[in-house]
Symmetry: C2
Subunit: 228 residues, 2 copies
């Protein structure tokens, strides 16, 4: 039997302990985020609640945005896995893109603060489709961007397959159509989160009905082949 | 000749001077807003730059939001007048609603900080269609809401006339269709403001092309009569 390399086991144990601590901090930040908006949370709050100092935190995250990107990343990965498996159960391209949209809207409405986080990073770092990661950004922001690109690719593939099986009629490039659909979806999500409370009183509307109206409008647009 | 009522002239002069001062403060706040976001501006900044104390400011505005609502109100009124006259030059209902959308997108893109202001009030006060003004809000916020309701009414009228002249085919109530179109438009405006810088590099797209794609998609949806 070869002699056990004590140093490498030690290294491995250190790496494991480091990862455990990082996880603990991410979990604490997620708990704080369940209670208040990111703007209201300081690194000090996270340090205090997890029993570390701010200096400790900086050993694991580049800055506050990097830490909260790690929080978002976990949720994004779950959303991606969910969307991917839902898409596998569809056959027509148009059903695939509609299902994807549904999953995304579900995710954003059920996780309002995570949607806000996403928008926060969008505004601040502009996570673009396949834009080479800038070194100045934290690692977790780059990773979030990666997952968002994966989701975008699912949407682009769905559109391509819809064009092929003729369930989607469009003159737009799949990438451009994806961006347009995502934009419209963002607006719908925001109007629901901003005005939902008064939907019934003012509009005699429910958010379910509003989502259905939106879905119908997209379905009509994609299958009509109009919009020269 | 009746004797001049000195007291009433005095009152009128006081009222005039008060309005002048209020205008001065609104103008100063607008100038600051041209340079930075509302979150970065304090009432103290506005007081300093207009030569008043914060106490003075409170004689004219309930709070910071009320002051910036006064700033927004001026722009909104101009936008409304512009939209109204543009609509008068159209005949078909579908052209009216498309023209209105165009004017609104123009306004928001050309006045990015005013768009942000609008969203700020939306999130905070939820200005709803015809929701009775709450007394706790500042006067100017209520007035902004009034102008936004006027714009919404223009859109609803355009949809109604489109249904009548058969250029718009829909099974939705005009109020609901208006809300849906507005939501989609908000998303498109946001994606343009957030990602425009990289449109060319990443998407081989211009914001003009993106707006056109959006317009085409709405036109296709409204005239297709699909979306059961």
């Amino acid at each position: 039997m070869a002699p056990v390399k004590n140093t490498s086991v030690k290294e491995e144990r250190k790496e494991w302990a480091r990862a455990q601590r990082q996880e603990r901090i991410i979990g604490m930040a997620a708990q704080l985020l369940a209670k208040c908006d990111i703007e209201e949370i300081t690194l000090e709050d996270v340090a205090k609640s997890s029993g570390y100092t701010i200096q400790n935190l900086y050993q694991y995250f580049k800055n506050k945005d990097d830490l909260f990107a790690a929080v978002l990343l976990k949720k994004l990965k779950v959303m991606y896995a969910d969307a991917e498996s839902a898409v596998e159960r569809t056959t027509l391209g148009i059903d695939r893109i509609i299902t994807l949209g549904d999953k995304y809207v579900d995710f954003c409405l059920r996780n309002k603060r995570y949607f806000d986080l996403q928008m926060h990073f969008e505004r601040k770092f502009c996570a673009y489709h396949k834009l080479t990661a800038k070194k100045t950004r934290g690692d977790f922001i780059v990773q979030c961007q990666g997952v968002i690109d994966q989701v975008s690719d699912l949407a682009i593939d769905a559109i391509k397959s819809g064009i092929e099986d003729r369930s989607i009629k469009t003159h737009l490039k799949p990438l451009h159509l994806m961006l347009l659909l995502w934009a419209q979806m963002l607006g719908v999500i925001q109007v629901i989160t901003m005005r939902q409370r008064y939907f019934k009183e003012i509009y005699e509307l429910t958010s379910e009905k509003f989502r259905r109206d939106f879905k119908d409008s997209i379905q009509a647009y994609l299958s009509s082949g109009q919009g020269k």
